[in-house]
Symmetry: C3
Subunit: 269 residues, 3 copies
C-alpha cells in the first residue's frame, strides 16, 4: 500500500487535514496516510523546508510527501511534483522543497497544471484539498508524472534564502534557530558535518556557543552528559547542532527562540 | 476497506481518541480510521454541526462519521445513526447532525438501543468508547442499521438553534462567527449562495462588513488580493463567508471571536 | 494487519512522531499505527504509566504498544519488550510499564540488545526512532521476542514510586491527581474498587473530598447528576475516581492540578 505523508501549517484545531485525508481516500482507498507534521508556524516556508529535508528518508521508497505551506494560495505560484531519490514530493513551488536538492539529483520535476487530476471545483483558498491532495492520491495510483503537467527546468525551481550554515572566513559558523521543539530544544541549521569540519581544522580547541550571559562549551553525547538544568550542545535527531538543557527548556532558560542566531566559535577547551 | 471518520471535542491531550480507535480495531481490524477533528470547543454542538456539514462530502461514499460532542453523556439522551446521501453518521441526538438534513433527504434514522453492539461494560462517562465507537465499527462490518435499534421518526430528531443565516427584510444578512481557525480567519454561517443572492438583488452595490472601527468592502478572490495586513471577505473552504487578513490574524486584529455577530450590508462600491 | 499503538511525550508540534511512523512502515508496510497519546508531560513517567495501564486492554490482542517517555535516552538504561495478557509493550525500563504487572502475570520479558533490529545508525537523542520503533515493527512481523535480546528476570524490572492508592489505617484514602484532562477533570490514582471497599466497610457514611474551601460529597453516576458548575465525584473512564464539575473545569474552579493530593474520607451522608 502506497504511503502518503502530510506536512502542513494547518494545525489540528480545524478540519483542514481531515478533509484532505477524505479527498485522498476518495481517490485511492488503499493509500496509507501518515501525519508528518501539521504545526509548522503559519506560512513558515523555511521551517517546513528543514523539516521535510531531515525527515523524508525515514519513510519507505515511493512515499508521496505532501507539503502544504502555501502563503501564495490562489495566486499564480506553481504547484510542482518532484521525484528525488525514489521519493515523490507535491508542494507549492515556493522554496519549501529546495533543501532537498542541495546534494542530490532531482530525477523529475513537473509543473502540475492538468486539472483532470484536481477536484472538479477548485477554490481559491484551499489548494491543499482541491489540487495537492488529489494529485498525491493519483500519484499513489501510479499515474505517470508526465500526465500531471508539463516538464519543468530544474533551474526554474524556487529556493529559500536560508540554506545550511557554512564555516565563515573568520573560522566560525553563524547559524540560525529553525525550530524550537516541544522540549524547548533549539534546532539549528548547522549540520553535524560542518561542526566536525570546524573542529578538525583546530584540534586543540572546542566549539563554544554564547547565549546572553551563558556559554555552552563542547559537544555532549547525551542530554544527561551535563548536570541537570545545565546547557549543552548535541548533534540532534536531525543530524544538526541542537542546543538543549538537561531536563530543562533551553529556549526559556536562555531566552532564545526561532530565527535567533547561533554562533559557534572555537576556544581553548 | 471501510472508512470511519472521528469528530470529537476530546482534544489530543488525553487517551480518549486513541482508546476509541483501539475499540474500533478490536471489532473491525480492516477499518480505516481518519481524524476529522478533535478540537471542537468542549461541548460546542453548534461548532461541530457546521464542521461535519461542510466536511462529510469530501469522504468516500459509505464512510461512517462518528461525532462525539456529548454534554448529555450518561443521561437519557438518544444515540442515533442516520444515513444521508450514502454516508452514515453516529452521534448523540442533540442537534449536532441537524444541518445535514436542511436540503437533503434522510434515508434512514435509528435510535441505537441494542446493547448487543455496545462494549460489554458501558460506563456513564464515556459513551464514545463504550457505545458510539463499537456501533460505528459494527456498521463498518455491514451490520444492518435496523439491527442496531428501533426506527426513528425523522421529525423527532433534535435541531440546533443556529441554522445558516438568511437575508433579512432590511436587506442585510446577520450571521455569526462559528469558528476561528488556526490562521485567525473568522468562519461564519453565511453561505456563499446567500451572499450572491443579496448581491444579485442590488447589482450596483457591494457587500460590506463592519468590525469595530474597521470596514471590509467587497469580496476578494484570494487572500493576497488585498495589501498585507489588510482585511478581506472571501468565500472560504466551507463555501461560506470568511473574514480574513492577508498574512495576518483577523480575529486578533479585529478583536472578533466565536459567537460574535457578522452583519453584511450593501453599500455603494 | 498488526496494530502498533504509540504513547509518547513528543507532542504533535515536531516531526518526531511522524518520523517514527515512517520507520515502522519502512519495515512493515502492513502495520496499522494508532496514536494512543503524545501529550504526556515531558518526561512524566508516572502519567504515562497510568495511561497505558488503563488503555491497553481496549486494543486488539497482539497489539504492540510503543511507549517512549525516556528521560534517560542515550544512557545505559535498558529498553525492554514485555508480553502481558497477549499484548506486547516496548519501552525504556524506567517504570513506565510497572503498573501493568500489579495484578497480572508477565509472560515474557526481554532486554532489547540485538542491534540487528535497530536502524543502522543509532543516535544518542532519539531511540524512539532508532531502536523502539524498528523493534516494534519487527515484532509486528513476527520476529520471536527471544531474537531481540536476552531474557530478563521479571524482578529486575524497574517500578515507579507511585502505585495505586490504598486504604490507610485511618480509614481514608490518600491519592494523587495523575492527569488533568482536556475538560479539567481531575484523574486520580484511586481505583473504583478501593472506593467501594472503603464504603462497604462503613455503609452508613458517604465518601467526601475536600478541595480548599469546597467539599464534594457522595459519588455521582453522571456528570449531570449535580447542578451546573457544581463539583462531583465520579468513577471515570479509567475506572478510577475522578473529580469533575458539571459543564465546568474542575481544575480551574478548585485550583487543583497534577500531583496534588486527593484525600477521600467518610462522613455522615
Amino acid at each position: 500500500m502506497p504511503v502518503i505523508s502530510l506536512l502542513t501549517d494547518f494545525g489540528n484545531f480545524d478540519e483542514y487535514v481531515g478533509v484532505m485525508k477524505g479527498v485522498i481516500l476518495s481517490i485511492n482507498p488503499d493509500a496509507r496516510i501518515v501525519d508528518l507534521n501539521h504545526w509548522i508556524d503559519p506560512q513558515d516556508i523555511i521551517q517546513a523546508a528543514y523539516l521535510i529535508k531531515s525527515s523524508y528518508s525515514y519513510f519507505p521508497k515511493n512515499t508521496i510527501h505532501v507539503v502544504v505551506v502555501d502563503p501564495g494560495v490562489g495566486t499564480q505560484r506553481r504547484i510542482v511534483v518532484l521525484k528525488i531519490e525514489d521519493h515523490f514530493f507535491v508542494a507549492p513551488d515556493n522554496g519549501v522543497l529546495s533543501l532537498l536538492w542541495q546534494n542530490t539529483k532531482i530525477e523529475s520535476a513537473v509543473n502540475v497544471n492538468n486539472s483532470r487530476y484536481f477536484l472538479p471545483l477548485v477554490s481559491n483558498t484551499f489548494h491543499g484539498r482541491d489540487i495537492i491532495a488529489p494529485v498525491a492520491a493519483w500519484i499513489s495510483k501510479k499515474v505517470p508524472l508526465k500526465s500531471l503537467g508539463s516538464q519543468l527546468e530544474f533551474s526554474h525551481l524556487k529556493s529559500i534564502e536560508m540554506p545550511f550554515a557554512k564555516i565563515s572566513p573568520q573560522n566560525l559558523i553563524k547559524g540560525t534557530v529553525i525550530s524550537v521543539d516541544r522540549f524547548g530544544n533549539l534546532l539549528t541549521n548547522i549540520e553535524a558535518k560542518t561542526i566536525f569540519q570546524l573542529c578538525r581544522q583546530n584540534t586543540d580547541k572546542v566549539p563554544v556557543v554564547r547565549l546572553g550571559n551563558s556559554c555552552v562549551k563542547g559537544l555532549s553525547l547525551t542530554y544527561q552528559s551535563v548536570p541537570e538544568k545545565s546547557g549543552l550542545m548535541i548533534i540532534g535527531s536531525r543530524n544538526c547542532l541542537e542546543v538543549a538543557v538537561n531536563r530543562g527548556n533551553a529556549s526559556r532558560i536562555f531566552n532564545v527562540g526561532k530565527k535567533d542566531s547561533i554562533v559557534v566559535t572555537l576556544e581553548n577547551g
